[in-house]
């Protein structure tokens, strides 16, 4: 039994080494520009509501193209893609940021259409962009910690 248990422990150690290697690649290949790109897309999503009429749809289409470009950039830069909604300790942050963004969007729409504050989405977008930048940085730290935590 002891030999089997030792083999199991050795297998877990080897497995952790490969996850540490993945963490090293992920840490080295995520520059601040990547967090900035994410922040720009999130902020742009809210700020685009300030555009007149059907221009909103044009901006939103451009943002979707931006999302696709960021995914391509990730794959090219790192050789992997990590889903932001992945299960694990990063998920609460993902959903918190999503809830914050949607709440900000709703508030901006209410201010713009209900109170006539046309610039509200621009301010809301800036706020979401700043929060998004820091949330993206924290998300990465949690993700790396998750990879490096012993199996």
């Amino acid at each position: 039994m002891s030999t089997q248990a030792d083999e199991a422990a050795a297998a877990l150690t080897a497995m952790q080494e490969s996850r540490d290697n993945l963490a090293a690649v992920a840490a080295a290949s995520c520059p601040p520009a990547r967090h900035l790109a994410f922040a720009g897309l999130m902020g742009g999503f809210v700020a685009s509501q300030a555009a007149p009429g059907s221009l909103v749809l044009v901006f939103e289409a451009l943002l979707l193209v931006g999302v696709a470009l960021v995914i391509m950039w990730d794959r090219r830069r790192t050789g992997m893609f990590i889903n932001g909604y992945r299960a694990g300790p990063t998920r609460p942050l993902t959903f918190s940021l999503l809830a914050f963004t949607l709440a900000t969007l709703a508030l901006c729409d209410w201010l713009m259409f209900g109170r006539g504050v046309g610039w509200a989405p621009l301010v809301g977008g800036a706020v979401v962009a700043v929060v998004g930048y820091y949330a993206s940085s924290i998300w990465q730290r949690i993700y790396l910690r998750d990879l490096r935590s012993a199996a």
Binding site: M1, S2, Q4, A5, D6, A8, A9, A11, L12, A14, M15, Q16, E17, S18, R19, N21, L22, V25, R75, R76, T78, G79, M80, F81, I82, N83, R86, D146, L147, A151
Partner: protein, 101 residues
């Protein structure tokens, strides 16, 4: 004992491949080679065995003007990996308990 040992995942290199894939949505062949530290031929062999078992998906896609192989875990693969790791942890804990006694 929690979890179940899976003979397909039991080989060290395949366990490492599964561990890396469990951390991402998909990974390119060369990234797997770097993180698991095996040769191209060994990695290809293990990926073929994992694909035969239905644990990974392999797809070819162009990136930077070259065809590359992208690998992802299937739902069955993710489940089998989690179960196998649980079984390993339960077994490894026996050593800790024996040492403590």
């Amino acid at each position: 004992m929690d979890g179940a040992f899976d003979p397909v995942i039991h080989a060290p290199a395949r366990l490492q491949i599964m561990a890396v894939l469990a951390g991402v949505q998909d990974a390119e062949f060369s990234l797997l080679r770097t993180t698991v530290k095996v040769s191209d031929s060994v990695l290809s062999k293990h990926l073929a065995q994992l694909a035969d078992a239905g644990y990974v998906n392999l797809r070819k896609a162009a990136l930077g003007g070259r065809q590359r192989t992208w690998v992802s875990l299937t739902r069955d693969g993710r489940r089998a990996f989690a179960s196998h790791v649980k079984a390993l942890q339960a077994l490894a804990n026996i050593t800790d308990r024996m040492a403590a006694e």
